[in-house]
Subunit: 355 residues, 4 copies
Amino acid sequence: MPNSTQQFASDNYAGICPEAWAAMAAANVGHVPAYGEDGWTARASDAFRELFRTNCDVFFAFNGTAANSLALASLCQSYHSVICSSTAHVETDECGAPEFFSNGSKLLVAATKSGKLTAEAVRTLAASRSDIHFPKPRAVTITQPTETGQVYSIDEIQALSATCRDLGLRLHMDGARFANACAALGCEPADISWKAGVDVLCFGGTKNGMAVGEAVLYFDNSLAEGFDYRCKQAGQLASKMRFLAAPWVEMLSSGAWLRNAAHANACARRLADQVSGLRGCELMFPVDANSVFIRAPEQSLQALRQRGWRFYTFIGGGARFMFAWDSDPVRVDALASDLRAILGTKADPMSINMP
Amino acid sequence: MPNSTQQFASDNYAGICPEAWAAMAAANVGHVPAYGEDGWTARASDAFRELFRTNCDVFFAFNGTAANSLALASLCQSYHSVICSSTAHVETDECGAPEFFSNGSKLLVAATKSGKLTAEAVRTLAASRSDIHFPKPRAVTITQPTETGQVYSIDEIQALSATCRDLGLRLHMDGARFANACAALGCEPADISWKAGVDVLCFGGTKNGMAVGEAVLYFDNSLAEGFDYRCKQAGQLASKMRFLAAPWVEMLSSGAWLRNAAHANACARRLADQVSGLRGCELMFPVDANSVFIRAPEQSLQALRQRGWRFYTFIGGGARFMFAWDSDPVRVDALASDLRAILGTKADPMSINMP
Amino acid sequence: MPNSTQQFASDNYAGICPEAWAAMAAANVGHVPAYGEDGWTARASDAFRELFRTNCDVFFAFNGTAANSLALASLCQSYHSVICSSTAHVETDECGAPEFFSNGSKLLVAATKSGKLTAEAVRTLAASRSDIHFPKPRAVTITQPTETGQVYSIDEIQALSATCRDLGLRLHMDGARFANACAALGCEPADISWKAGVDVLCFGGTKNGMAVGEAVLYFDNSLAEGFDYRCKQAGQLASKMRFLAAPWVEMLSSGAWLRNAAHANACARRLADQVSGLRGCELMFPVDANSVFIRAPEQSLQALRQRGWRFYTFIGGGARFMFAWDSDPVRVDALASDLRAILGTKADPMSINMP
Amino acid sequence: MPNSTQQFASDNYAGICPEAWAAMAAANVGHVPAYGEDGWTARASDAFRELFRTNCDVFFAFNGTAANSLALASLCQSYHSVICSSTAHVETDECGAPEFFSNGSKLLVAATKSGKLTAEAVRTLAASRSDIHFPKPRAVTITQPTETGQVYSIDEIQALSATCRDLGLRLHMDGARFANACAALGCEPADISWKAGVDVLCFGGTKNGMAVGEAVLYFDNSLAEGFDYRCKQAGQLASKMRFLAAPWVEMLSSGAWLRNAAHANACARRLADQVSGLRGCELMFPVDANSVFIRAPEQSLQALRQRGWRFYTFIGGGARFMFAWDSDPVRVDALASDLRAILGTKADPMSINMP
């Protein structure tokens, strides 16, 4: 029977990885200045600049809701709008946070296929209105990888950013699982961020194995002006900042950020490989990163739940399985086995053909 | 020479206390539901209800800026105002956070002596205007203990809440150092909160020895309606909530919350006792909790800095020394000794009288 | 050739009707108290209460953007959402005003056919999410008549309000052209407002023949608490309020409000009757009030523009003709004639078949 | 006995002056495009540019609350602050509108004598804090003339703007009675606005004799970017804009704007001259514009009220008399006479000396 500590409902369900934990322990020594005036925060900022090989401005926020919403608010005035996909987390799961932090900037949902924004969709939407009665588009936000587990290629991001530059729009990247995208593409972080035209990146730490905390990276330094005040006013300046910063130092220097992501991606691939041929079971989206969306008959999903598995069905009605830095391959196999058992009672071609 | 890890500039400079750390370690096991749907969060909420002996609604926020601002926003509409003292942290050190979260509620500074609000001051200010051109007072906020290190007595709080009820105002308590007030008064938490008429309390965990996190307690449950959504929208809902909640469980059950506070208070008292008789050195405020404000000639303060001590001088020009759960009494004595040496070079009556 | 002063692009293009003008002249005598403390404002408020036969709270705002947005803001907290149709003016043409005034309340677009909201659509949308990551539905807004020129029947409104009550939602009516709905239905204003379950109505004056000003009527008095402060803070309290209020007094007492609307409706009907049989010309929506939406080949619309007619094509690509209190029937006939000439050159079966 | 239509409680109590009225009548002809796309709006904007002899950007808002608050919001982000005097209307009488429109920008009250801001006071306040915990000063607002009826000289404004430039602050002028300042100084509008370093001016029309409407003039065109959207979103874009714009065309071209102001100023001077020598009666502020503040024993003020006079006593406890474009000198004399009679019963040296 499934162990409740090894479900795949969300990568948020995982705890703190050893490297992040060790860093917190190392940081928990003596007294140090508060509000980011400590050495850990300076080192973490430098580590990001080194990793991205550019002199970006680095800030730390408590969670992704705030990181993304504050970043968008810094790009927009209240009468501006932000173009996103219909599955964008900022649109579907932030309870109006972007509108709240920006004091009213409207999110405009562009037509997309399976949650991946395209340059064409951005251009079409941005061109649809140009009168004063409609909020002026000012930014585009993409999630890398998408909420549907797909990774934007370097070319796709470049095409988006070229369109943005052409239209006077800023490009924001929600990188709640940015590390997974890097692991998937095997590229440098710079390649899918500033080198591809991204203006601001929210680099997720929580889903990558930290307790709390996201980094906001401004590659266009001029856009970062006042962002420290913005964070403070919005309740996102940690007094004991070292505990948000130290984990980043260790995660980045040890390579754990990438290993964690690669492991999670591999688990998703492991599941996908085992179920992709099953009759009555369809992979809803390409499995690029650490999630697998499966479309299957409701009775099959119900049978899966009865075997103790927990999962969400909020996008497109399919079952989402999400893997974390510590997901156990044995449990992945157990899930695949259960899926096969449930779906295969009717139609497992392998067993049919066995003598 | 002073050890930089044992300064008394702020209780924010301290790290995580052993009990909080142990709780985080205990919580860092396996996968658990996110966003507060875990067992630790339930237990922490229950622990607060038990400690306060009432069925209050309990929420967790990342820091005091957010906790206090969200609580005030929940009491007010944008056209309301909040009465506070001129030294209130929400007025002087939150970069406009209360106005931001409430979408414009104005803070009204009542005339006070040394930062302690009185029922009379509230009444006078609330009565000063009643026209539509001025934001209608809707809440009063007091800091317990005050930013000047003074503790409101039960009677003082009751007088304030009686006035609030009379005027249709809600009473909010910024309890960033609430534990220190309890330790100082030797009373039950209930005595200076709901039993004394407080509607909402922000109970500080960070300054009490945690890494991050404050609790917001609604004693009037009707006021808590929608506060969970409010926290989520404002970027204050932690996905891995267990790491905010677990420390509370251990802090409250072990009594560390009170021990930590009592220790910090004792350090302040220890310093105050050693310097209170010194010529050229004046205690600016009664030393009720964990801070000591000293007024001394600027050249004396400068001499203190030259000996390596760091402190703030933002309230009234005096030097603030703030003690934490881990402040070292030996270092307190060293500070007192340096103060005596600096001030006493001119005028130590003891040495003058020695034969 | 069309006279530029008799276009049918918008009912906003019309001036001030004689009754409103006379009232402003009558009010422009001597000195009177400002900010609504004058007799005209009192009389206008009473006139509304008499017209609606109920003791509603009455407020005056400068325009519809503000009236509707403030009313919605008074029903919602920032973390709430408002259900509307995809053609709702608050969604499509207010530049994010509802989100701005409410500090982030999200508009949720319900699936509708031709812009008319149904109880079923409200129920389906409201039931689609109930988790904290999505803004909680708190209000429904309908436009009466709709932006597509359709009038909700009493039954339809009752069905909507019953669903709202069932789901704990407030019902707001954007009545920018409320008078046109009354004229169309031949009913009492009360019948399609409070008697049908509407909580708040924004009754449009500008499109009805006034220079500026809308009335906000709260039928549930408890919801009106603080709305005077809200208007003041949001820049919607006129100092010389008499000039917003006096026109209402005269418009309501003279019956001009209804005559103006009936005339505009009749003009729309006059056009619809003359073009409804034309080949290649389709009425996109039932012509219930003062607008006619025509779908015709783009070359036909272009030909119409070449003859000097101006019109908008923003909803569904069709041409919108909108009639005002002073629209000239002769010009309506001229437009119909031009349409016939353009469309009929190819294919008027009647004339072809005539011997 | 005083005629209620000729009180001097507020210049808001006056109606529409003949020139503004005639312009509205002239504009009330036929159909014209809405939302400022009409000829009147273009001509009014040009008239301002001609009057100020510069290519400023011109916008129209419904009232001063909105004009000033929107202008300040355009200069600030939410985490900025605005320096003002303690008597500034934005601080004392806008119900938190600046905080609302800016989403939280805090007003910082500088120490002033009698409500007139000085360069020194600005510098001192701006220098008082530079840490992230306090909203960063970004703008200075002055009211010309002040709420206490004093006029800033060209030199004083230049000194303020020089300090602003030095500190990176924008200078905003609340010109609710800007015309009165021009009349008082006998200068060109440019002299006390852009030539003296003002970035944005809100030029009041309502108190100058119009029904409704203020103009917002951006002398630094770059600051005006997006202000049209800002107005729209904030409910300040009039659909029938011609009725806000036309009065300006006529007021500016006819010189009525200046005549109206000069007349009001003369009435204030007329009262001041008659009461300035009276025993027990003190002019609280220099009478530069159209208001007179009188400090007198409460029993004298009470006696004045008993004779039917109405006035406010909100600033410093004195009685404020405010004169409008249509104030009747005969009534001014009557007020002066009553004041003399009331105060002179004890101590009118003239009558004492009379045989």
